[in-house]
Amino acid sequence: MMRLPAHWRSKQYWWDTGQAYLYLLPAMLVLGVFVFYPFFNAFNLSFHKVYLVKRVGDQLIPFYMEYVGLNNFTRLFHDSIFIKAIKQTSIYVGVSVPVTIGLALILATFLNEGLKLRPFYRLAYFMPYITPVVAISLVWQWIYNWKFGLLNYLLGFFGVDLINWLNDKHYALPAVIIMNVWRFVGYQSIILLAGMQGIDKMYYDAAKVDGASGFQAWRKITVPLLTPQIFFVFIISLIGSFKIFEEVFILFSGTPGPLNSAMTMVYYIFDQGFNKFHFGRAAAASVVLFAIIFALTLFQMTVTQRRVHYER
């Protein structure tokens, strides 16, 4: 007879374990229904063609799924708009993530330098993050107005010709990037600021004794000791940026920008699923998006882990 581990025989053990699972149950239920089930079902859907309702014999079957193998995926990679969506999403992520973090780092540094009215600035920079994206996008639609917009007006002082931000295929994606850098830079700088304030003052004192300049101290002490926060912000914004959708949808009045120039992957998924009723294809596209984000996150984890310094 197999021997059971000793603690299995303890009543207390089962009581504690049962209790723990009971506490976990509500969260597991919510996550299960709204996260895990849809997540796994998306994989299943991506191999099917879906009919909202289909008559089979004399029976009406809602949500009829027909197995089509890899058809949805091959169709996707033959769709130039999907390829364009991947390309543009990558450009968006590649530009907006580093720019936002760079600016946030600079901003946080200034905020950390005993600035007067710090609470005010902190609030001011945090405002865009807590404002609904719909409201932001509608306001920016006006800021970007090529004839009467604020941005072109300001650029006019520097002799820049009117830029048709929202209707020129060259400027549509940059317009989305600028808006979102503005939107997230405050949030990220607050996180980085918190990190900076947690760095022990003794390092700076020691640096001062050794005659390091302010910039040297920043480069050699602040930034390295801030890597956990930078890494966190990096991952979060990378994942978030890949999922960009609402900004595009509202900024371009329910279109993916002129000549699809602001078509992103999630916009594509939305369009396939909810405008065109291709649920299988939409699911396949979301599986591809998942694969990209997953691979990038794994890559980041392994590469950056070596460069992240934890103080303790």
């Binding site: 809602p62 009117l162 295929k169 002129p258 909810f274 009723f277």
Partner: protein, 406 residues
């Protein structure tokens, strides 16, 4: 003893009475917001007063986008509402779940549906929906700049270019003759129909959009684009800002365009779209469909009753007058009430005339939304000068070909 029997009698009458009043409840999903919602509520209230046994649950589902998503969810779950507003390209996704209305509606009601609308609501030879909030594409113009609206393509083009002014000569006009919105290919489809062209042949077996008629139309659009503000956003904004003198848009946009004109401090008028070989114009807006899926016969009967109620001449006219949409029945159009109304409201007269003369609807092909989407892609390329009409149409035809053979 007698008293006891009396009590039982009273009870029996009460029970039978309640049965005769058998409560039927139906859900009616719609997307009519605060501008039109109250009008619909008034009509439904009146219907319920007339039919005390029927309770209609009017459910506002948000905009058309949310209505579509909620209907998708409901149909997929096998539990749609009894009656709902829907666009043709949604209807084609759940044809089997709808009641064929010809079997249910009274013959005089069927005969009264305007024939143009009737045709637009036929799917595979069956009447599956009835027109509800219907609008049509018309021409909006500023009388201070356009004393007489253009009536032909040639006049339209000529006037649009004459009205395009670039006084400071910086290459960016201060005002354009007209405006074109690529995400709104219904304008192109209107002109295509005016040139007797079509997307597909009658039997859907062949793509005809790149034939001679299609090419002529696309060339006209390319010419027009040279004197047009081409932008993705709604045209009411630049119109209000004085950037465009006239533009073609749906009649449902009337209140927005009028508000923009008032803000800009000028007058706005409505005319028919300039014509070519005919005066066709595309009809937009949703229809009402009654679901058979997961409904009791009583619910279906109640919904059909409601449809018949809404189609009565006095009701379709009331609806049209209050909302700005079109009446949908012959008797509605011909009623004295409507005739008197349009005599006093020239813009509504123009919309009515436009519909009666050339209203046509969406293609009912199940892949229509994909087709429309590729039309937008190439239409936009032509309007922005990225592609010439011939190349664009040939590429477009190839893509449509692939879509319909899928």
């Amino acid at each position: 003893m007698l008293r006891r029997y009396g009590f039982i009698m009273v009870m029996a009458v009460a029970v039978f009475g309640a049965l005769a009043w058998a409560e039927v409840t139906i859900d009616f999903w719609h997307a009519m917001s605060k501008r039109h919602g109250p009008v619909l509520e008034t009509l439904v209230q009146e219907f319920m007063e007339e039919n005390p046994g029927i309770t209609v649950n009017l459910v506002y589902q948000g905009g058309y986008g949310s209505l579509s998503q909620k209907l998708i969810g409901a149909v997929a779950a096998g539990e749609p509402p009894t009656i709902a507003q829907q666009y043709e390209n949604w209807t084609t996704q759940w044809l089997d779940a709808l009641v064929p209305l010809e079997d249910y509606l009274a013959p005089e009601v069927l005969a009264d549906l305007h024939p143009r609308f009737r045709e637009m609501n036929m799917f595979n030879g069956q009447l599956l929906t009835v027109p509800f909030n219907k609008s049509i594409i018309v021409l909006y113009y500023r009388p201070d700049l356009v004393p007489e609206p253009p009536t032909t393509w040639e006049e339209f083009l000529q006037m649009a270019c004459a009205l395009t002014v670039d006084e400071d000569g910086d290459g960016v006009p201060e005002r354009y003759g007209t405006g074109l919105r690529p995400p709104n290919p219904e304008i192109f489809l209107t002109f295509l129909a005016q040139n007797e062209g079509s997307i597909l042949s009658e039997d859907w077996s062949e793509v005809t959009i790149n034939d001679e008629r299609g090419l002529e139309t696309m060339e006209f659009m390319a010419d027009l684009a040279k004197c047009a503000l081409v932008q993705g956003g709604y045209l009411s904004d630049p119109f209000g800002q004085g950037l465009i003198a006239m533009f073609v848009d749906t009649s449902a946009g009337y209140p927005y365009n009028l508000a923009a004109a008032q803000q800009g401090g000028f007058q706005m008028r409505v005319a028919k779209v300039p014509c070519h070989k005919n005066c066709s114009s595309m009809v937009q807006g949703t229809n009402l469909g009654v679901f058979s899926m997961n409904q009791t016969p009583e619910q279906i009967e109640a919904a059909v009753k409601l449809v018949e109620f809404l189609l009565r001449p006095e009701n379709t006219v009331y609806w049209a007058k209050e909302t700005g949409y079109l009446p949908v029945t012959v008797s509605g159009f011909e009623s004295d009430e409507w005739q008197d109304f349009i005599a006093e409201n020239p813009e509504r007269a123009a919309m009515t005339e436009q519909f009666l003369e050339g209203g046509f609807g969406q293609l009912h092909h199940p892949a229509y939304w994909d087709i429309r989407s590729v039309i937008i892609t190439y239409y936009e390329q032509v309007l922005l000068g990225e592609s010439d009409p011939q190349t664009a149409l040939d590429n477009l035809a190839a893509e449509i070909e692939a879509l319909i053979s899928e």
